[in-house]
């Protein structure tokens, strides 16, 4: 008989590497000793984490072993196979089909690799210490075991004549769990008598005034010694119905659209940055307005702005008042080609923990969550995103919906089933991004699914991503068909140059495989505003057009150019107005007055960039005797113009909480796949250290022999609380005794020999061997634990 720690120590190097790579939390931060590794492997947190990663089949096997072990049965592989796998012919005791048996055996081995099961003796399995606490309240749908004073009832009684009718039916209903039933309230109920009879004969146990449970042993007898009805089958994946061309085309379409929309947000916000709420988000009205401008619904718009934020293309400028404006990365992004721009967005999305679908919902305090809010992230998002993509990757060319993904994930990790709404939202984002096309994973998505989760994509991955889009995009077209009704059609995807030209000079009427645009007076004026001249514009259009420019378009451009700039405006801070032009002679040209920034608007009007008061002083000094006038031309007294001091920003500036929001994602890489060589080095180091401890222990064996005494803390004890808990758990599982050092209320240490029973909710229950009394100790008061040397 060995302990879990002994068994673990005896694992081969390869097995250690396998364990550490599968349970990353054991290797990072690196454990200092093998003992602490064993302790960590049995800590509640690590076990929960490991169990959360198990699929339904693994959990079934684990439960089965745990149940058998708890009943004191020897869980050999054959026993577990018999307990789980369905017999070949239903209702018989035939051995299960070899496939199922092999699967169960493989699962047993796999769980052993994970150190969730171990071999107390060769050929038998036992759950790692502490596993039982991580299982359901009713593992495998089984109730609590019989108490020592109970007798195990004989099932044959059920068939005896005095068994009331319906007794077996009640047991059958509870047999596969949940094992709790209600006692009929009325004695008239047809189930009342059988229930009472079952209680009297020990088939059921009353837990409170209204409920009964089916004891574990009885249930197992009813189940003919089996713990499960078979291995839960994996849910079916969606059936492929699409062609690769459709998926590619749809994904390329979405990719172009999302890049265009993000670019549109940048271009809108670079002229007028969007005001930020005091909480740091984008207000509902602002979002709605933007949705109107993008011609999208609010949910999609929220995704667009969030994507821009994830890719650090926009940010809260922390100004006063704070606004969202494009960042300097945005310029770089805008200059890149379409596939690169897309890859940037997708990569940012892949790594981000932001949760745009929460926009518009309310938080715990009832406040509306807004887009771009710093708090709008959830740590589990990147992991879930990877999981969703991986499920989709397994069903190539099939339209994947949230329901089927959740079904698969519910089988794969029954301990942590994601909310369907989040999965649906992630799939929706994937569709908007073109990571999926027609709801099936596209090439770019496959790439993401293959990437290790929770990593930031490197340049190669980035390029590969861009290439997937590059391959699916249709050839760009450098031609626009101009028509007499002032419309133009680009029969395909426009080249960037053509796209920029049309974006400047026309309104887009319809998008898709082709783009149709309409030239209007307003759109042409916009192009002129952007710095083009009528001749430039016509020449550019002519260069892209197969036919000559239609006369109406030509006329429109010239007509717009004629009207453009007829009204001029400029900036001035003050002006000088006279009736006699002579008075102004020499003012503009005088170098002494150059600080005033004077310029002539008309023979009798000068404007100045200096404030009126300064102008007034300067003109007085020149002896011109100026008088100040108001908007209606009335003379006002100059002393009224003393500038008032402005109290700077009443409202205290908001803490710059946004730097957090910009990359609101958590740290990456902690749980990522650790490189095997690193792990091997770690294992080697642990072994070496263990060797050292062993040697030290051998040397100090003489003095350590007096372990029975009280007082001095032993070197063999452990101050590491995690290791201490591990030792306690192990001892509890094996029924061994340990030396326990407990800090008393005054801080003085006492040392007792105890047999731990259970560690739960921060408390240790143990039996003090010397006093034969049970005691409960809060774990934070445990200063050390030391195994009792085998006598």
């Amino acid at each position: 008989m060995v302990t879990f720690s002994d068994w673990l120590r005896a694992r081969s190097d390869e097995q250690f590497v396998a364990l550490l790579s599968r349970r990353g939390d054991l290797a990072s931060p690196s454990p200092s000793t093998l003992l602490s590794l064993a302790a960590r492997a049995t800590s509640r947190a690590s076990l929960l984490r490991a169990a959360a990663a198990l699929d339904a089949a693994h959990l079934t096997v684990l439960e089965s072993v745990a149940v058998l072990d708890a009943l004191g049965e020897e869980a050999t592989a054959d026993r577990v196979v018999a307990a789980i796998a369905a017999p070949s012919a239903p209702g018989t005791q035939d051995p299960p089909p070899p496939d199922d048996a092999a699967t169960v055996r493989a699962l047993l081995e796999d769980l052993t690799t994970l150190a969730l099961l171990w071999h107390p003796t060769p050929g038998t399995y036992r759950p790692a210490p502490g596993i039982e606490e991580t299982l359901d309240a009713y593992p495998a749908g089984l109730g609590p075991a019989l108490r020592p004073q109970d007798t195990r009832p004989d099932l044959a009684l059920l068939d005896s004549p005095d068994a009331p009718a319906g007794a077996r039916a009640i047991l059958t209903a509870l047999q596969w769990g949940p094992p709790v039933g209600r006692i009929p309230a009325s004695t008239d109920s047809p189930t009342y008598t059988p229930t009472r009879w079952l209680l009297d004969h020990g088939f059921l146990r009353q837990v409170d005034a209204h409920h009964v449970t089916l004891p574990r042993e009885v249930a197992l007898d009813l189940r003919s010694g089996r713990t499960h009805q078979g291995l839960p089958p994996a849910p079916p994946l969606p059936i492929p119905t699409l062609t690769p061309e459709t998926v590619d085309a749809e994904s390329a379409r979405a990719a172009q659209e999302i890049v265009r929309r993000v670019a549109q947000v940048i271009s809108l916000w670079q002229t007028t940055p969007a005001p930020a709420l005091r909480s740091g988000g984008l207000g509902v009205r602002e979002l709605r307005r933007l949705a109107g401008q993008l011609d999208a619904d609010e949910a999609a718009t929220a995704v667009v702005v969030e994507l821009a934020l994830m890719a650090a293309l926009i940010a809260d400028d922390s100004g006063d008042p704070a606004t969202f404006a494009p960042t300097d990365t945005a310029d770089e992004w805008l200059a890149a080609d379409l596939p690169t721009r897309w890859a940037t967005l997708v990569a940012a999305w892949f790594a981000s923990a932001r949760a745009p679908w929460l926009v518009g919902t309310r938080d715990d305090r009832g406040a509306l969550r807004s887009a771009l809010e710093p708090e709008l992230h959830r740590v589990w998002v990147p992991r879930l995103r990877s999981q969703v993509l991986r499920v989709a990757a397994q069903a190539p060319l099939a339209a994947v919906d949230a329901e089927s993904v959740v079904a698969v994930l519910a089988w794969r990790t029954p301990r942590s089933v994601p909310p369907q709404a989040a999965v649906a939202a992630l799939l929706h984002e994937a569709a908007l991004l073109g990571v999926t096309g027609a709801d099936a994973l596209a090439a770019g998505g496959l790439l993401l699914a293959a990437a290790p989760p929770l990593t930031v994509l490197d340049d190669d991955a980035h390029r590969a991503l861009a290439d997937t889009l590059e391959r699916t995009l249709p050839e760009p077209v450098d031609e626009v068909l101009l028509q007499g009704d002032l419309t133009g059609i680009v029969p395909g995807r426009p080249t960037p140059e053509l796209e920029a030209l049309l974006a400047d000079a026309a309104e887009v009427e319809s998008r898709g495989g082709a783009i149709t645009v309409r030239f209007t007076a307003a759109s042409v004026i916009r192009a002129l505003d952007a710095g083009r001249t009528a001749e430039d514009l016509l020449a550019d259009l002519a260069r892209h057009s197969r036919s000559a420019i239609p006369q109406p378009l030509d006329y429109l451009v010239h007509d717009a150019a004629r009207r453009h700039g007829q009204v001029r405006l400029g900036v001035a801070a003050s002006y000088i107005r006279v009736d006699d032009p002579v008075l102004l002679a020499g003012l503009v040209e005088d170098p002494a007055l150059s600080a005033l920034g004077l310029f002539r608007l008309a023979p009798t009007v000068l404007a100045s960039t200096a404030p009126a008061s300064q102008l007034l002083t300067a003109l007085r000094e020149r002896g011109l005797a100026p008088a100040m006038e108001d908007a209606e031309g009335k003379v006002v007294h100059s002393d009224r113009l003393t500038p008032r001091v402005r109290v700077p920003g009443r409202r205290s500036r908001r803490a710059s909480q946004h730097s957090r929001a910009v990359d609101g994602s958590p740290e990456h890489g902690t749980g990522g796949a650790l490189r095997t060589d690193r792990l091997q080095a770690l294992v080697a180091r642990l072994r070496e250290q263990h060797q050292l401890t062993q040697e030290r222990r051998a040397q100090g064996a003489g003095s350590a022999g007096s372990l029975g005494g009280t007082g001095t803390p032993s070197e063999m004890g452990t101050p590491d609380p995690l290791v201490a808990l591990g030792l306690l758990r192990e001892a509890a599982a094996d029924g061994h005794e340990v030396w326990l050092e407990v800090a008393g209320p005054t801080g003085a240490l006492t040392r007792r020999r105890v047999r731990p029973l259970r560690i739960d909710a921060g408390r240790l229950r143990a039996v003090d061997v010397a006093r034969e009394a049970e005691l409960t100790v809060a774990v934070h008061r445990i200063a050390g634990v030391e195994p009792v040397a085998d006598a």
């Binding site: 699409l242 061309e245 459709t246 590619d248 085309a249 749809e250 379409r253 096309g437 027609a438 249709p474 068909l481 101009l482 028509q483 007499g484 009704d485 002032l486 419309t487 059609i489 029969p491 395909g492 319809s510 998008r511 898709g512 495989g513 082709a514 149709t516 036919s547 239609p550 006369q551 109406p552 006329y555 429109l556 007509d559 009207r563």
Partner: protein, 554 residues
């Protein structure tokens, strides 16, 4: 797929590249289910609408065919969502059926109980249907057949109408083989007219869209000959009624005794009766007094001329005529009130539609040169305009005095050609008539005077005629070859098209017709003009724009 003529957009428009070698094949393939929206020179735009798809279903096309056509002719991959939507939309048609039940008469049956439950639950169907016979069948009041169909269409579950048409009272009508107006020379239907008649007859009821001057009356005559039943023809006004009668006498075997006129002046009910919308919609003491005409005979065919003008009461009356074959005729099925859909649902789907330029290319309508003349207002008028109240601005701009001078120049340029000057405002027209020394026809002109002036115009006695909007429709001025529009009713697209239609009869010598729109620059007049021109521009009539100053002075 790589190089088809069609580009399918996500917004359900189809772009057809006209110069593509496969363009014709693609056009024929998509015509049954896609609506032609614009037909300018290079790329024609079609649109997929639920109505169009349902009409295609009614005509026996299924979703698979539609999808295959799109895939076969598309240059790029067709948006997946659109294909799904097409299939979904088309599958909605025919879940409900209207049919004749041997015992209960007209009934609505369903192949999908949920759908029947849904539509019966709707408030809109209340009162249109009677008792429920069984789970799948409900009685329909025969008088509500049209109304119910319209409601079901709005609810998105169009009913397949299998109840058929009444045969109507037989009355032999045939097309006459010779044309008495051309010395009894033999004639026959033009190919597109033949196709239009076929399309209509095959579909049962519906609308035929043909450009002005392309012979819609003859399509009507052809339909009557095919039906060979008593026929009710509804037209816009009395002049138009007379023209219909003349044309029918000329093109068919009908005699004067067989054709009756039902108008303000005369109330004759004959095997073929021509009535005006106006008389039908006349109300006395809140009651339509002439409604009995609709039931006066067992009409086998009802023809609606110029359906784009169909007034609202006629819509309601038409709802009651669902058991009779209905033919709608128009050149421009665009309504500024957006009620095109009601025309389609009550009279029937579009059965034939030809781009104007196609007919022009075949030589059946005259080629037309459209010019917008822009007049720069003098300083004083600009000031007046800038400070005017918004509601006066259009009138002020449209009636700019400078237009007189331009009209004079244009008339002089086409000296000797029959020229129409069309406008909206009577004051302006009277001033123009004075200025040019020309005759004028307005709503106030008596029918006799109108006929006299039209006759004089036809014979070439007078070459210039100023007309108000009374001349917008259905006046037959065979040799008018120049039209000058000085003002219009705001941005009405169909008015512009109808006015162009006045000069589109093919000319004996193949001359090009000229259409001028005189517009005041930088005013709402210009904005409205741009909107008015949209229909024609979309039909491929590219307006040239010239400055008034560039017109040659004579």
């Amino acid at each position: 797929m790589a190089d088809g003529p069609l580009i399918v957009q996500s917004d359900k428009t189809l772009l057809l590249e006209v110069d593509h070698p496969q363009a014709d094949a693609a056009r024929r393939a998509i015509a049954p289910f896609a609506e032609l929206e614009r037909a300018p020179e290079h790329v024609h735009t079609y649109r997929l609408t639920p109505l169009g798809l349902w009409n295609a279903r009614a005509a026996g096309h299924d979703a698979e065919q539609v999808v295959n056509v799109l895939l076969a002719f598309s240059r790029y991959s067709v948006p997946h969502a659109l294909l799904v939507d097409v299939a979904e939309t088309m599958s909605r048609y025919g879940r409900l059926q209207l049919s004749q039940h041997p015992v209960h008469g007209l009934v609505l049956t369903s192949t999908d109980r949920a759908v029947l439950a849904e539509v019966l639950k709707s408030k809109r169907t209340a009162g249109l249907v009677g008792e429920r016979i069984d789970e799948d069948t409900v009685v329909v009041h025969p008088s509500e057949r049209g109304h119910l169909k319209q409601v079901l269409l709005k609810l998105g579950w169009p009913a397949e109408d299998l109840a058929g048409y009444v045969d109507g009272e037989k009355h032999p009508i045939a097309l006459s083989p010779t044309d008495p107006a051309h010395g009894d020379a033999p004639w026959e239907l033009r190919p597109y007219q033949e196709q239009a008649v076929d399309g209509f007859w095959h579909g049962g009821s519906g609308v035929v869209v043909l450009p002005c001057g392309a012979g819609k009356t003859i399509v009507g005559a052809g339909a009557m000959a095919r039906s060979a039943t008593t026929t009710l023809i509804l037209v816009t006004n009395t002049v138009s009624a007379r023209q219909w009668r003349d044309e029918l006498l000329r093109r068919t075997t009908l005699t004067e005794d067989e054709i009756g006129e039902y108008s303000g002046a005369r109330k004759e009910v004959r095997p073929v009766t021509i009535a005006t919308y106006q008389v039908l919609t006349t109300k006395r003491k809140g009651v339509y007094t002439h409604l009995e005409l609709l039931d006066a005979r067992d009409w086998g065919l009802v023809i609606y001329d110029e359906v784009h003008l169909l007034p609202a009461p006629i819509f309601r009356m038409t709802a009651d005529l669902q058991a009779r074959r209905r033919l709608g005729l128009t050149a421009t099925l665009v309504r500024e009130d957006g009620r095109e859909d009601e025309v389609f649902s009550l009279i029937g789907p579009k059965r034939y539609d030809a781009p104007w330029k196609d007919i022009e290319a075949q030589g059946y309508i005259a080629p037309a040169d459209c010019v917008e003349v822009r007049l720069t207002l003098p300083e004083r008028d600009r000031m007046l305009y800038a400070t005017a109240e918004p509601e006066d601005k259009y009138r002020l701009a449209a009636c700019a005095p400078g237009k007189n001078q331009i009209v004079e120049q244009l008339v002089a340029r086409h000296q000797g050609d029959p020229t129409l000057i069309i406008g909206q405002y009577i004051d302006q027209l009277e001033e123009l008539a004075d200025h040019l020394g020309a005759q004028i026809i307005t709503g106030a002109t008596s029918v006799r005077e109108r006929q006299r002036l039209f006759d004089a115009f036809r014979t070439g006695e007078i070459t210039t005629l100023v007309v108000s909007k009374v001349a917008n429709f259905s006046i037959d001025l065979p040799e008018a070859s120049v039209a000058i529009q000085v003002s219009g009713s705001f941005g009405s697209r169909q008015e512009e098209a109808q006015r162009l239609g006045r000069i589109m009869r093919p000319k004996a010598d193949g001359r090009t017709a000229h259409f001028y729109a005189v517009v005041a620059r930088d005013t709402v007049d210009q904005d409205f003009a741009a909107h008015r021109q949209r229909f024609l521009a979309e039909q491929g009539y590219a307006y040239r724009i010239v400055d008034a100053d560039d017109l040659p002075v004579t």
